[in-house]
């Protein structure tokens, strides 16, 4: 998960951020870019050069040394399907027809994602709910993320952890990780998602492995949302206790991706794309996919995300597949920003379409969505929600522990909207007639 232009500036606001001059040809990202205070002149100059001069940026399709290249045609197929998709071409009749079909074809899915399907949202929700109930009953899984580090080597213009944002960086040591886990486990949580920023040099694979091993002590299901890595590294982390891997592609639109991910290993689009496949080859049981909806045309990104998941599952039928759906939220004081396009109605439409196209897939809704939205969408399509969330580093003790702590904490990646604790989330789900599940997994 990344966010949102609303990247947090250094701990104490010092007169706010300065906005750089906007390049004429890249209006979409201009509102996302900001200069944080406290950068050295050299860093600032480099940052501006990256932002303004495409020729100084590397080829996003070229692998860096050490990056494993696997033989897979999925990238090309997904990109071709995305390029061929024109949401404006679909009509109300197409959407209506798609809803009449028992099974949702790719063509039907494209119709349901299109603006023409918007008037049929209630009908889509009814169909989606029926599919969700058929495959998952009333169950909703609960998990919590744990940020163990926030160091990052990438410059992604919209992200609060980016390397040109001098936030408080922190990496928990084993003792601190264990302490956070104890507090979380005490709340009753059984599934944890471990997150780091994307810094291989600071948060190495062995460090993540140590965290997995600790997590295995306290939790029954361990997910990872860390930088993409090679197959043998995924295999190593699987052996240390990880069960599934989440990698967000952010956007499947390579041109737009190039303009938003200006520096660092994350800039290499195809290496990121193949992360789930490498994870499965490394023995992970499940993988999760997502675009950050709003970075590019969200309908096309939603299509690409679902096709990526669908076709990978066909190749690895035993893999557990799930989708997330973060969206770039409208940014305060910048209502004209493109993310305004994807409001709650549009997000709901995407999720209903996901459910109809991939009835068996898990769908996770993040705490950056409001409690009201999460309550509503779990009755329609979502099967997993987070609770007791903190996106800061090492602050479960102060947020959820018995007493507050004066220890150092790392800055948060983004602000959450739904801050319900596990107990509250559990009770609310029961109140909605749903059945919260903390774990349904046997480590084998």
């Amino acid at each position: 998960m990344r966010i949102d232009g609303r990247a947090r500036s250094p701990s104490a606001p010092q007169g706010g951020a300065r906005r750089p001059a906007e390049p004429q040809n890249e209006p979409k990202r201009s509102d996302l870019i900001f200069d944080a205070d406290g950068l050295s002149p050299a860093a600032l100059a480099r940052k501006h050069q990256l932002e303004r001069d495409p020729s100084c940026r590397t080829d996003p399709m070229a692998y860096l040394p050490g990056m494993e290249v696997i033989d897979s045609d999925l990238k090309d197929r997904v990109r071709a399907a995305m390029a061929a998709y024109d949401p404006a071409r679909y009509t109300a009749a197409d959407a209506r027809r798609a809803l009449e079909h028992e099974r949702c074809s790719v063509e039907d899915f494209q119709a349901l994602l299109s603006p023409a399907a918007a008037p049929f949202l209630e009908r889509m929700a009814e169909r989606a709910r029926a599919e969700t109930v058929r495959h998952f009953g009333n169950t909703v899984y609960i998990f919590t993320p744990l940020y163990i580090a926030n160091h990052c080597e990438n410059y992604c213009v919209y992200c609060g952890f980016n390397c040109y944002n001098p936030i408080r960086r922190m990496k928990l040591d084993k003792g601190q990780i264990e302490r956070e886990m104890e507090i979380i486990a005490k709340s009753g949580m059984e599934e944890i998602l471990l997150l780091t920023g994307e810094s291989r040099s600071v948060s190495g694979v062995e460090y993540i492995g140590d965290a997995c091993e600790l997590a295995r002590k306290y939790f029954r299901l361990v997910g990872l949302e860390v930088y993409p890595m090679n197959t043998d590294e995924y295999r190593y982390l699987r052996e240390r206790g990880a069960d599934y891997v989440t990698v967000f592609q952010e956007t499947y639109d390579v041109e737009q991706y190039e303009k938003l991910h200006l520096q660092g290993h994350k800039r290499v689009w195809p290496y990121r794309f193949d992360a789930q496949e490498r994870a499965l080859r490394g023995g992970m049981r499940g993988v999760a996919f997502s675009a950050l909806l709003g970075l590019s045309d969200f309908r096309k990104d939603a299509l690409a995300t679902a096709l990526h998941a669908c076709w990978l599952q066909r190749k690895y039928p035993e893999a557990e597949i799930s989708l997330s759906c973060p969206r770039l939220r409208p940014i305060t004081n910048h209502a004209d920003v493109r993310p305004g396009e994807i409001g709650e109605r549009e997000l709901c439409q995407v999720l209903c379409a996901y459910r109809l196209f991939l009835p068996f897939a898990g769908i996770t809704v993040s705490s950056r969505e409001s409690a009201a939205f999460r309550n509503g969408i779990t009755k329609i399509a979502a099967t997993k929600v987070s609770a007791g969330v903190s996106t800061g580093i090492g602050d479960h003790a102060s947020k959820y522990g018995e007493k507050s702590t004066s220890e150092k904490e790392g800055d948060e990646q983004f602000e959450i909207s739904d801050a319900r604790s596990l107990a509250k989330m559990y009770a609310d789900l029961v109140g909605e007639g749903l059945q919260p599940v903390l774990n349904d997994y046997v480590y084998v």
Binding site: R134, G137, G188, F360, V437, D440, V442
Partner: protein, 258 residues
């Protein structure tokens, strides 16, 4: 005719009068209650992965006394994993019964017959009462018998599909040829379909989604009980002529022969 309650079947040395088994797909405490009280279930499937929790509401705490637990190995992707899950079930105190579910496909959840035979052999040797869930294939069913299964559980249709007996012809072959109880698992979406399976000679049926997703769970549970009893009685009574095999003329065609 004997009373329906005297018509029993046996699995692993235990005798059952109810021929309704609650599946584990969508569990809720209300569902378990309805299945026991209104459908008369004496066997309840339990997903080990759902019992393996610290959760306050552990499903194990809600299984009424006198009900036989049938832990399943859902989540297993091969025989080795299924064996490990079965052993875990035993450690959790779920008893000696185990339903083998091995799926290498997260989309359709179809059983892997080959791995199922392997797991059956291993677990039967370890003293489990093994009920393997399988795709109805006569050769595989025979292998399961040899491997020591206590029953064979062919699927009627894809799990959760409520499509009924899509594989009816193949299930009938198992019923006709296999001497173990044949328990129809997966796909049964309506009491009429359960009734038909019983008429065909199935020993029992398993259902979950059909109840779980009904608007009135207790009433649907009762409907299943009645349908199963009706189908079972019809099977025991012997069905009359089946018109599909050719209408029977009331005057014999060969009546002219002397």
């Amino acid at each position: 005719m004997k009373k329906s309650t005297e018509d029993t079947f046996t699995l692993g040395g235990k005798t059952f009068t109810s021929r309704f088994i609650l599946g584990s797909g969508k569990y809720s405490l209300d569902l378990i209650r309805a299945a026991v009280e209104h459908a008369g279930a004496q066997i309840i499937t339990l997903s080990v992965r759902r019992a393996n929790t610290q959760e306050k509401e552990n499903i194990l705490d809600y299984i009424p006394k006198g009900v036989t637990l049938l832990p399943n190995t859902s989540g297993a992707r091969d025989a080795k994993e299924a064996v490990r899950i079965a052993r875990l079930a035993r450690e959790l105190g779920c008893g000696e019964f185990v339903k083998i579910e091995i799926m290498r496909d997260t989309k359709y959840l179809l059983p892997d017959n080959q791995e199922t035979v392997k797991a059956t052999e291993q677990l039967a040797a370890e003293g489990f009462t093994v009920l393997p869930y399988m795709y109805p294939d006569l050769n595989v069913a025979r292998d399961l018998v040899k491997a020591g299964a206590a029953a064979v559980m062919p699927l009627g249709a894809p799990i959760g599909s409520n499509k009924g007996l899509a594989t009816a012809d193949f299930i009938q072959i198992l019923i006709d040829e296999i001497e173990l109880p044949i328990i129809v698992d997966a796909g049964i979406g309506a009491p009429s379909q359960a009734c038909r399976a019983m008429e065909m000679g199935a020993a029992a049926i398993m259902a979950n989604t059909a109840l779980a997703t009904s608007g009135d769970v207790p009433r649907m549970a009762r409907a299943f009980r009645l349908a199963i009893e009706a189908g079972r009685d019809a099977y025991r009574a012997g069905l009359g002529r089946v018109l599909a095999r050719g209408a029977a003329a009331s005057d014999p065609l060969t009546g002219f022969l002397r």
